[in-house]
Symmetry: C2
Subunit: 333 residues, 2 copies
Amino acid sequence: VRVADLPTPCLVVDTATLEQNIATMGEAWPGRTLRPHVKAFKSTAMARHLAAAGHDALCGATARELLGLAGAGLGEDLLLANELVDPRRLAALAACGARVTVAVDSGETVDAAARAGIREVLVDVDVGCIRCGAAPDDAPRVAERARRAGLEVRGVMGYEGHLMMAPPEEKAQKVAEAMAVLARVHEQVGGEVVSGGGTGTAAVNRWVTELQAGSYTLMDADYGRAGLPFRQALHLLTTVISRNPGGWAVSDGGLKALGMDHGNPVMDGYRLLFCSDEHTTFMAEEGGTLPAVGERVRITPSHVDPTVAYHEWLYLASGEDVVDRWEVDLRNW
Amino acid sequence: VRVADLPTPCLVVDTATLEQNIATMGEAWPGRTLRPHVKAFKSTAMARHLAAAGHDALCGATARELLGLAGAGLGEDLLLANELVDPRRLAALAACGARVTVAVDSGETVDAAARAGIREVLVDVDVGCIRCGAAPDDAPRVAERARRAGLEVRGVMGYEGHLMMAPPEEKAQKVAEAMAVLARVHEQVGGEVVSGGGTGTAAVNRWVTELQAGSYTLMDADYGRAGLPFRQALHLLTTVISRNPGGWAVSDGGLKALGMDHGNPVMDGYRLLFCSDEHTTFMAEEGGTLPAVGERVRITPSHVDPTVAYHEWLYLASGEDVVDRWEVDLRNW
């Protein structure tokens, strides 16, 4: 199958770029110092590929992601890098046969995990992201409560998500400050694991024992502007379905194929006007020409995670040849 | 099952409000004067419900939507209200056993339809939306080309999508102007059908013979601000998973559960700060209190179509009882 024969809209992954991104990250964070975050790509096949590259301790944001990995035999060391209080899902995780560690940041999350039969936890610490995580002063009490409930506290977790897109000249210093908080809590909480970080801070986070990152594999337009050593491996392939004498054309991928929270996606060589449910309207750049109806045009998503979550497949391409397709089997809940 | 027992995040539909919305629209646009647009809800079950209410001529934006409707026995009169040049999908539509009409706006779309064995078309006319549709002066030539290719031209289509959210005091006049263009082209093109409109212009569009609308069934926060006679029937149910002494809480629905192109969703009783991939961070309103970890909170999506496209199920609730669930079986491509 050729890329030109794929039904559109669809996500196409350039395998050479993907491999380069994996190699670049793997040099800096080899083996289990990297804990690939499957939330970015939601595909067991991609997870298996990363595990084969040595990164066989994985993390996810939903029970479904972890249960899917466990079912696929990728359950060596799975971290739910998120809080969960649903007793049925926690029980399913406890019974799935994999080694499962869950994040806890409160008495409620500790109690829910213990009641469901979860055995290991990380204490999630608020390092400034305005999201989950116990306040640093409360974290030791959460750890104590977990140990009293019979849970093994493997260490701490702290996600500096608010710094992923910090200006390069400030990023290292701000990450150092956030991680100083995490290191201080870690001293009090104990355990061997300090988990955190992401694609945007991989180059400057020297404190975590394991980096949680997933977007580096595929990348997106937003991370593409952040001066990172990873390259754009993913695009949305679309077909031009209309061209107007007013000077615009329309392709067949829109809001249901693209995560839009980071703003409009990007089209190389064209000026994207707007996306609607099933369409992207665009114009030629100054001096350029519009493609004909039936031609293919590529769109670079602005945010990879909510983009992939719309799709059933990632089509892997080597040049113009489709060499494989990976199911996005870990989406939904 | 009680709503409180549903796994989160999930979409919950209030059946009483849904029925009221359907009744309100059905009074103004009875039977086949309304052509429900399944792109808004992507569910065969909802389409069947609307067909049972008399609206058994349906439209969609993708081949997958129409093929699903045809397979479910809802193929009395299906319109692909969108351009399509993919020969395999067009052939599948031509062979699906349903009455299928497709929109065409160019020689390429006419030729692709004719070659695939499609029998009936509408000429799609640009009425100002900056998207698909032949320029009004070109539309008669598109119709002529279709007839020469052996296609039955059932009439015209023109979507005034740019006016759905026009200020109420201008909307009627602007719709009249857009529809005057469509009426003029219709005189030249012929056929019995003038198809167009939407939820936002249902009250002021007096020109179409059939209104294409879908969002009125479920509604969203954006349409909720437009002064329409339809009420919010859909919300995203989430569970609070974290609460921070800094004054915020976090629930478990985020960017992969909510279409974000119309901006942030809305939380009644709380101040929503931001959504991230799996989370919504929010604060109490002035004088209010934050919910406890484990409590449920409701989020009203800002844009229904790309929200529903993230989900597998619509859970139908009467008060706190879940009375049914409808699969979102027409999503993807």
